[in-house]
Symmetry: C2
Subunit: 300 residues, 2 copies
Amino acid sequence: MSLVIVGSVAFDTIETPDARRERIVGGSCTYSALAASFFTKPKIVAVVGEDFPPETAALMKKRGIDLKGLRIVPGGKTFFWEGRYGDDPNQRDTLRLDLNVFGDFQPTLPPSYRSPDILFLANIGPSLQEHVLSQVKRPRLVAMDTIRHYIETEPAALDRVLRKTDVYFANDEEARLMTNERNLIRAGRLLLERGPRLVVLKKGEHGALVFGKDSLFAITAHPCEGVVDPTGAGDSFAGAFLGFLDRAGDFRASSIRRAAVFGSVLASFTIEDFGIERLATLKPAEIENRFAFLKKVASI
Amino acid sequence: MSLVIVGSVAFDTIETPDARRERIVGGSCTYSALAASFFTKPKIVAVVGEDFPPETAALMKKRGIDLKGLRIVPGGKTFFWEGRYGDDPNQRDTLRLDLNVFGDFQPTLPPSYRSPDILFLANIGPSLQEHVLSQVKRPRLVAMDTIRHYIETEPAALDRVLRKTDVYFANDEEARLMTNERNLIRAGRLLLERGPRLVVLKKGEHGALVFGKDSLFAITAHPCEGVVDPTGAGDSFAGAFLGFLDRAGDFRASSIRRAAVFGSVLASFTIEDFGIERLATLKPAEIENRFAFLKKVASI
């Protein structure tokens, strides 16, 4: 099997109630590819400027990530985001956003990327997501993610992508915004009616719910006594979920369930440190231990 | 085994965004005893006025609840509470509170109540809870619940009761208020240090966490597409939890876990209708079915 991930690679400046980090590497593609790399060898499609640190590219390569689709724009500057978290790690304010090379990003897939088994349209505009979809032979599984900005500004394009999507990842705020429905069970079921076979609704510290036409899985979050930096939790969840499915080679209910637990596990590691620092040093045995722990915590 | 429950029996006037009900029967003792009655024959200690409906007493008797400790004050009026829920079913405002006969309540346990295996100090003031404790031979298990009002007004007495408590039930708001800690994992662990062997932290739609010295269980909430009336959810959880343990006859980890799932199940039924209406018609087979469903939803 193969997994292609299209998304953003960025510099983030992050402020939390306890600390601040300047221009650390982030982006939806970065987090999801690193998380997926513990299960499979993802191929990424993204754009960066010449300022992008070679150490990060080296880390990605070391983790088996295929960088043929990573375009480096000569003289360009990498996408930059600055955000601040309050006491509630689920709430954040964007303080600054410089699209830079991401503003003209027209993702073009290398020929070796055009028949993926799994395609993940991570957080980029829905029109770009459609553009990517038009370049591939229908994958066995299309997954997508989006953010408040696109839900508010490009709802029609988003709905078109949703109809071509098998797995839609949303956090609670996005699910409510998409459906205008406060109750998350109703929101999840309404989203299912708009195309996807599965809706993965992420609830931060409260875990996640995976809605299928005739199924529901509830996933417990790893008990975390202190979130250092919530950035990338959702991307890590999605990356691990899809990376696991790519390795499993099937989309049976039992695989979906395990995929979601691994999603929750990788997200729980990401938030233990700033940016990708925790993922950079993470060991497979730590992932397996945490999976076993969650199984013990949740089983009846 | 035997279970004694001390708490309030009340009239509630309840307003939700969709409806309003005047003077329906409620109270922590009522909900918890009815929920417990699906597992054991609880004995209740409470006080009501002459206005208390004989139909409710008859329903309780029919459900096997021992009413020897229910005092009816001649000429007295039953405790009355009026509250309003907003769009968020976890938020409510108290519009009116008439203590009536509850104001002079000095619970006296009938002789047949004085050696309970399990004692539940439901929502009454901590000084009254201490007064009850002083009347019983040390039970195998003491459980308690409280509310914001007593956390704010009687913290010292509350801490004394907590030190004599084995199982403390709190919702997320109460746990945060008790510990001044936003993170619920830390809050749960801090509460453990104040006496209880188990802290049951109820999170509404997000389920519950059961903290032990060396254990943690996460309980999924039944997926509910619409809460009719959240009143009594916590009391129903506690009643079913303790009723199940009373029937199980032991406090092993596996029993605690099942007790918490049954707690979640009974709470999920309570909120499907106003007041005790759903509990009044509930069938054991419905409880078993929902337990099996939650097991399927949560198992990895």
